[in-house]
Amino acid sequence: MPLNDYTIVIGLEVHAELMTKSKLFCGCSTSFGSEANSQVCPRCLGLPGTLPVLNKKAVEYAVKAGLAFDCDISKYSKFDRKNYFYPDLSKAYQISQFDQPICGKGHVEFYVGGEKKVVGINRIHLEEEAGKSVHSGATISDSEFSLEDYNRCGIPLIEIVSEPDMRSPEEARIYMETLRNILRYVAVSDCKMEEGSLRCDANISLMPKGATKYGTRTEIKNMNSFRAVQKALEYEALRHAKILDRGEKIVQETRTWDDIAGITASMRSKEEAHDYRYFPEPDLVPIVLTDEFIDDIKNGLPELPVAKFHRYVDEYELPEYDAELITADKDLAEYFEAVIANYKDYKAVSNWLMGEFMRLVNEQSVEISEIKVKPEDLAMMFTLQEKGVISSKIAKTVFEEMFHSGKDPETIVKEKGLVQISDASEIEKIVLDVIEKNPGPVAQYLDGKERVLGFLVGQVMKLSKGKANPQMANDYLRAALAKMVKN
């Protein structure tokens, strides 16, 4: 059977590091990229006798994330120990939440090829990060030694467990991107996959179209980009289909994605799976939340992408395409809203942001939050254009200068003498000059070849160094040429 005779069933477990200033159970800094083992203390190193004290901010962030996904918030939840040995796990157990997580069921909405998709969230729980092993060789097996860096150990994480609601690798990727967008919106995680602050494991199974009973699943780990999530799942779906087509059975196991080879490989079988021996963490009291605490967080939530999308379409009359693109990124949406506070042609602003603006952002690979152009300056640029002070062509030049120097458009126009020529006598002079210098094209025009006009307008713009008001250049050329016909 070809792959599309099967229904693909995918569920994701997404880990996002919370961007609290300090770790989940001690006061150590969480900043990224510091010298190895410079952000550690007896507690996160797991020295015997030390005890965890819960970071209240992390609880707030986890609840915030839960509310952003419409999850039920548990007024009572508790921590459990997940026991396993690994050198980067300083206590040899991870403090996590097993059967009473902080957030229960919720959901996420997104669009796939114009179709609305809703994926259920099963739960969100709070837990701590492990450290990092650094091997002397390229892989563990050819390393002489390994070193441990515990800077990351104890950073708060949330694990967002989806229902098995995704039906294609593409949906899984978009789901993951949507989670990132929302988590960034509510400012609980910076969600940088390349720094590992956003990670995911995927469960995938296939069943014949129309069937209701899920097939045997495999779990995929080590997908380090959004693209890798989709690629790995596409590979794995096809692998399942081929096995099932041969009449064989899928082996329930954990597999790892090799991004370079583009394949998944077996990591451990079900029999080798860890028995984590979860039990209630005796060193922490349960988390008990009041309605007031939850309501305060709820009231402080920013407008979320879905709500923004609808508002952009209804209030600003933006096309859905524009609205989705701009609202997907919180920084871009905030920027858009700051510009339109001072300039009301919403579509013109949206076009500019999706065009010139994003072109330079991508070209220079800068974050939107770091851009030098003040939104009110961009609004001023539009105003100058509307008033005819600069042409649309000049606007691009002005914007590029704004982008690089951060100067306001009026200063740039003044400094570079970019003011549009709208003086009739000056334009007339240039027009006559162009007619004189281009007898050939002028003759062609007079012979009835109207399209030569464009060339002649171009010449006027060129001679004026782009500053001539294009509409006036056009009008005056036509008038001058018409006079020649009469003569």
């Binding site: 020295l47 015997p48 004290v53 040995f85 690994y86 040899a92 021996r277």
Partner: protein
């Protein structure tokens, strides 16, 4: 000898009258330690030079009138309490050379109180044992009779007080580890309400049961030391909030009308007759003081030991996992990769009793066994708590024997773990229920070994418990302390 025979509160008086100095006291105890320590082996690390410096600082405080009730009175610490840059071994090969980079909160409190620290005391390895025989550094002897065990796991702490090597020591009690050695050594030992005293920096055995408490020669001294220790600790979320009373103020109140519960479940067949008689005598003494003796039921008491050994070993298996040779403690020479490092370091570093408990606990938490063992134990633990709630709705305190027998001989039980575990049969319920309990001397057996009587009180009932003990102590009179003369 004069100083050694004084109680801590008598020494306080002499210090405040400037009749003696803290240095005098510490020097007297150093002499005593030098004389008897080779026979008793209470300590695994002595910090005598530092103690003399502590004494001078205490004398300075007294000179400046900034002393508190125990300033200048020395103390010994069980070797599972983290001490800054002083070896904290838990009497295990695993931590033979471990130097903590911080002080446990109780150590900080003792230092702030101006108490000179004489050293770290011997214990069963990682507090797992009831005789101090599982110590990597060899056993402590019972000062009453050197052929007998001092009990455990805080055997060194108890013996050091009984041998008058120190007026005070700290122990930790997970299932009786303060009260059983207190009984065996004829002194007072308190296991406070869970959360009353900080656990931060105390190496855990079973986190939901462990509690630090004092050893002293008499009830008043122990109340004074408990007042130093009982403070809320922001480093521990299970630490109870709010202020604590000065327990000395609770002593000396009339106990007329005090309702004393006696649970029939504790007077079992295996109970030593002399102990039974001593407890009865204690009850008679209380009655004579006007207390009302009431028979009560604690119906799940016979399940306490099994419940305790499931909960304690389960938590222990997880608490002991961090000793993997990576960051601190023993690392095997025989290492090929991380897995062999874990296996060999742990195999070499832990003694047999620790290994036994790790295995028991791992089993109890394993998939397929969790519900039948660990979860069931938690349910019974709740029932035991409810037993006490029920009992304390009728009575103020409960009086029982501390142990089913007096101290036993070396080697008698160490080869038979179950008979060793049975010596905790009367003490584990207090830990499971989180309530306070103490053991105090109730007489001597015919072979001149101390007998302990145990008093339970409801959660945070330390004041009523100590007042009852104080009254009983007065009525029974002192059994004295062994001289250890050669």
């Amino acid at each position: 000898m004069e100083i050694l025979n004084r109680s801590a509160l008598e020494l306080r008086d002499l210090l405040d009258k400037r009749e003696i100095s803290s240095r005098d006291i510490v020097e007297a105890y150093i002499k005593r330690i030098e004389a008897v320590e080779p026979r008793v082996n209470s300590f695994v690390t002595l910090t005598l030079e530092e103690a003399l410096k502590d004494a001078d600082r205490a004398d300075e405080m007294i000179k400046n009138n900034t002393q508190t009730v125990l300033t200048g009175i020395p103390i010994a610490l069980k070797d599972n309490m983290s001490t800054y840059h002083v070896k904290t071994t838990c009497c295990s090969k695993m931590l033979e050379n471990y130097l903590p980079p911080f002080d446990a909160t109780v150590v900080k409190l003792v230092k702030e109180a101006g108490m000179p620290i004489l050293g770290k005391t011997n214990m069963d390895e990682f507090a797992m044992g009831s005789s101090t025989e599982t110590s990597y550094f060899g056993p402590t002897k019972n000062p009453w009779n050197l052929d007998y065990v001092p009990g455990g796991s805080s055997g060194g702490s108890a013996a050091s007080v009984a041998a008058r090597e120190t007026p005070f020591s700290l122990g930790s009690d997970t299932g009786g580890s303060i009260r059983q050695p207190a009984a065996f050594n004829g002194i007072v030992g308190i296991k406070p309400t869970y959360g009353l005293v900080s656990r931060y920096g105390v190496l855990p055995f079973a986190s939901s049961l462990d509690q630090v408490g004092p050893f002293a020669r008499n009830v008043a001294d122990s109340a004074a030391l408990l007042s130093v220790l009982a403070k809320h600790d922001s480093l521990e979320t299970t630490s109870l909030k709010g202020p604590r009373p000065d327990y000395l103020n609770a002593l000396g109140r009339d106990i007329k009308g005090l309702k004393v519960g006696v649970p029939k479940e504790f007077f079992i067949d295996g109970l030593n007759k002399e102990i039974e008689a001593a407890v009865k005598k204690a009850l008679d003494a209380l009655k004579a003081l006007g207390a009302e003796i009431i028979d009560i039921c604690l119906p799940h008491s016979d399940k306490a030991l099994a419940t305790y050994y499931l909960v304690a070993t389960a938590e222990c298996s997880s608490n002991m996992a961090r000793f993997d040779g990576v960051r601190f403690g023993h690392r095997s020479e025989n290492v090929k990769d991380s897995v062999t490092m874990f296996k060999h370091s742990r195999a070499e570093g832990f003694g047999p009793e620790v290994k036994r408990r790790i295995m028991l606990g791992t089993y109890a938490l394993s998939a397929g066994y969790y519900d039948a063992y660990y979860l069931k134990a938690l349910k019974v633990r709740r029932l035991i708590k409810e037993d006490f709630d029920q009992a304390f709705s009728q009575v103020d305190v409960i009086v029982t024997p501390t142990t089913p027998s007096t101290a036993f001989k070396f080697g008698e039980k160490v080869q038979d773990p179950v008979s060793m575990y049975l010596s905790d049969v009367f003490t584990t319920t207090a830990n499971l229920a989180g309530i306070p309990a103490l053991s105090m001397p109730a007489g001597l057996s015919s072979n001149n070994l101390p007998i302990g009587v145990q008093i339970f009180a409801p959660r945070l009932g330390e004041e009523i418990m100590l007042n009852a003990a104080f009254a009983l102590e007065k009525a029974l009179g002192s059994i004295g302390l062994p001289t250890l003369e050669v």
